[in-house]
Symmetry: C2
Subunit: 105 residues, 2 copies
DNA sequence: GTGTTTATTAAGTTCAACTATATAGTCAGA
DNA sequence: TCTGACTATATAGTTGAACTTAATAAACAC
C-alpha cells in the first residue's frame, strides 16, 4: 500500500480520525480541536484543501449534504490507511527505550 | 516549545532517534534503514539537508570528525523535542478506540 | 584497474500546509 | 435593526521539507 501521501501528516491523520463519523468540514475542524485538546487548530484553507485531497484519493467520500454543508465519511480504503498508520506509529514508539509501548510490536 | 518544524516529520524523527548515539551522516542512513526494517531509506539529499537543518536549530551538534566523516549527536534540546514527540504520538494512538495504548495518556 | 561501497554536496522540482482574503448565511444582544 | 460574532466554504499566492538526480572523491575488493 505504498502511496505518495504516506506517512500521514498530522492534518490528514486527524481528519481521517474525525471522519470515522460522518461530518461536514466545519464540524471536522471543531472535532479536531477537541480531540487534540486545542493543540491542533486547522486554518480553513488547510482543512478544505486536505478534504479535497483525501476525497480525490478515495480515502473519504461525500455521503450527503445539508444546505451548504457537505458531509463526508471515511471509506474502507481510508480505514485501511488508518490501520497501517497506527501500526507505523506503534513501531516508532517502540524505538524509544523505556517507553511503555515497548515490546508491543 | 512551539516550533516551526513540529510536529516532527518521519525523516527528522528517525534522524534524532539515530543520533542518541554519536554517528556520521552515512551511518545515520544505515541505522534508519535498520530501525525501520528497510521501510525508510533516505536519499542522500534528504539526509544531509535534514542534518544541516537540525544542526541549525540546535537539536543536534557536531561532536568531532574522522577524515571526511562528520560526527553528530543529539543535544539536550533535541532530546526534549523527542520526548514531546513521543507524548504527541501516544496521544494520537490513544484516539484509536480498541488500541492497546488507550487510556495511557 | 575496474567496479562497488562509503561519504558528502548541490541543483532543481513537487506539493502539503500555510496566510490571507472573499463570500455569505445565521443568530444574539444593544 | 444593525452590528458583531459565529458558521461554512472557497481560492490565490507563498514557503519549505522532502524528493530526484547527479557530481565528486576516497577506500576497498576482485
Amino acid at each position: 500500500m505504498k502511496h505518495k501521501l504516506l506517512p500521514l501528516s498530522e492534518t490528514m491523520h486527524y481528519i481521517l480520525l474525525a471522519l470515522r463519523e460522518p461530518r461536514h468540514g466545519y464540524a471536522v475542524m471543531q472535532e479536531i480541536e477537541k480531540m487534540s485538546h486545542g493543540d491542533v487548530i486547522l486554518a480553513a484553507g488547510t482543512l478544505y484543501g486536505a478534504i479535497e485531497n483525501l476525497n480525490k484519493h478515495g480515502w473519504i467520500e461525500p455521503v450527503g449534504s445539508e444546505g451548504r454543508r457537505r458531509i463526508y465519511q471515511i471509506t474502507e480504503e481510508g480505514s485501511a490507511v488508518l490501520k497501517a498508520e497506527q501500526e507505523r506509529l506503534l513501531h516508532i514508539i517502540s524505538l524509544y527505550e523505556g517507553s511503555e509501548a515497548n515490546e508491543k510490536i
